[in-house]
Symmetry: C2
Amino acid sequence: MKRILVTGASGLIGRHAVAALVRQGGWDIHVAARRLPELPSGDGVTAHAVDLLDPLGPTELLRRTAPSHLLHLAWTTEHGRFWRAPENLDWVAATLRLARAFAEAGGRRMVAGGTCAEYDWSAPELVDGSCHEDATPTLPHTLYGVAKDACRRMLTAFGAEAGIETAWGRIFFPFGPGEDPRRLIPSIIGNLRACIAAPCSPGTQVRDFIAGEDAGAAFAAITASGVTGAVNVGSGIPMTIAEVALTVGRAMGRPDLIHLGALPLRPDDPPRLVADVRRLTDEVGFRCGASLEQRITSMAHLRCLDVSPMSP
Amino acid sequence: MKRILVTGASGLIGRHAVAALVRQGGWDIHVAARRLPELPSGDGVTAHAVDLLDPLGPTELLRRTAPSHLLHLAWTTEHGRFWRAPENLDWVAATLRLARAFAEAGGRRMVAGGTCAEYDWSAPELVDGSCHEDATPTLPHTLYGVAKDACRRMLTAFGAEAGIETAWGRIFFPFGPGEDPRRLIPSIIGNLRACIAAPCSPGTQVRDFIAGEDAGAAFAAITASGVTGAVNVGSGIPMTIAEVALTVGRAMGRPDLIHLGALPLRPDDPPRLVADVRRLTDEVGFRCGASLEQRITSMAHLRCLDVSPMSP
C-alpha cells in the first residue's frame, strides 16, 4: 500500500484531494494541519497536528510516517493579503524543509500546489489564448507568484538530485464552499441572500474558474499518475467575471441585483488568464465532474455556507 | 554612522569585504559566523557567534543590532559537494529568514552573493562573448545555481514590497589564500612545492578568475553604492585554465611540472564563462587592485598557505 502525506488538507482544495484519494483506494493517507479539528479523518485517514512553519515540525512527522508520496498544498492564503505578504518567504522555507525531510524519509514522488500567477500574465500570447505549461513564459508579477515559482524551480532541481519524481499543479481560480466569504462568489451570494445589490466591476476580465472539488480531484489524479513537471489545474473554460456573477444571480433568481460596472476595474488586473488543460486531460486523464454553471449553482443553493454581505 | 551586518565574514571573499569596509570608514561593522575565532574583529568590527542555519539564530541578532545594511555572503561552499548538496535548500531558507528579520529590524539596503552559475552557460552568445547581467539568460544547470537564482528572485520581489534596496553580486571564479586546498590553484602550488608534477586537463576552458581580495572589495563597493539588481563580480579578464596553471608554474620557477592534458576535460564543463564587468566598473566605480598575474604570483609566493599535493 502506498502511503501519502497531504498538507493543507483542511483547505478549499486539500479537503477534496483527500476525499478523492479515499475514493481512489490503495492509499494509507496521512494529513497534516495546525489544528486537529480542521482535519478530515476516518476512512483510513490519519490526522496529525503539526505546524509546518515550525522549523522542527515536519521533520519528526516525516520520519515517523515515512510516506512514499507527498501532496503539499499548504500555503498562506489570507484573502487580500497573500499576494504581497512577507509570510510567502516563510512558506518557501517551510516547503524546502518539507522536501528535505521527505527525501530523508525515503520519499519517491512529490506533488505541490503552484499558481497561474507564475505565468507572465502580460505576455501578448495570452490576449486570445491560454497559458501553456512550457510555451507561456513564467514571469511572476507578485511576491506570491515569485515565491511559488522559486519553489517550483527548487523542488524540480532538488528532486532531480534526490531521485524524487516531482509534479507541480498550477492552480487557476478555485472557488467553492469553505472559501473566504470576502471572495467573489460568496460575497455575491451573501449580498443576494440579504436581498441587497452586489456591486461589481464591469467584469470583462476573462478567468479560468475551477471548483475546489474538481481541483482537489485533479491533484489526486496528478499524484496517482506518473506525470512530472508543471500541470495546469483549471477547468479550461474561459469565463468573464460578469458571467460568473450573473450565473450566481440567475441561480438565486435575482440577476437584477448584479450591478456590473458599479466598481472600477483594477488597473493591474490582467485581462485574461485561462488554462490550457491538455496536459491535465490527455496526460493525467482528468476531467472536471460537473460544469462550472452546475458547480456555481449548487454553491449558491447550499444552505450552510459561510457568507456575509460585502462591506460597504 | 551606518551600521552593517556581514555574514560569511570568515570566508574567502567575506574577510576581504570586511577589510574594505574598514578602509571605507563610516561603518559600524558587525560580523556573524558560527564560531567566534573565525571572525575578523578589531578596528571597530564587532563579532557575533551565530548559526544562520538555526531558525532562531538571526532573528535575535538582527533585533539587537538593527543594521541599516546587510551584506550576506554565507553559503555552503564545501569543495566538490556544494554544486549538488541538499544543504543548498537550507541556505535558501536561511537567506529568506535573514531577509525577513532584516526588514523587521528596519533594514534599508541588502547585498547578497550570487553566482555565475545562474547564467545559462550553454547559451550560444557565450561562445565568444561574456555574461551580461540582463542580456544573458538565467538558466542554472545545477542545484547550487538554481538555489542562488531562486534567492535572487525572492529577495528582489521581497525587497520591492518591504522598501529595501537590493543588489546581487554574481561571483565568477574566486581564488586566494584561505580557499580549499583541493581547488585548482592551491592544489597546483601544493604539488609544485613538493616538486611533483601537477596533472591538469588540457585547460582550454576560459574562465573569469578574480582574487578574493578584489571580490571582497567589489562587494564593499557595491554595498556603499546605490546600484540595485544583479552586478557581475569578476575581473572581466578571460583566461584559460591552462594559462592560470602555467602562471602558477612560472611564479614558482617550475612551469615544466604543469602537465596539461594529463587529465580529461569534464564533459559538463562549460567552455567559457567570462563576466561583462561594465556595471561593476562604470556604475559601481570599482576596479581590481592588481592584475590576475600579480594576484596568482603573490599567492604562490605566500609562505603560510594551506596547500597539500593532489591526491593521486
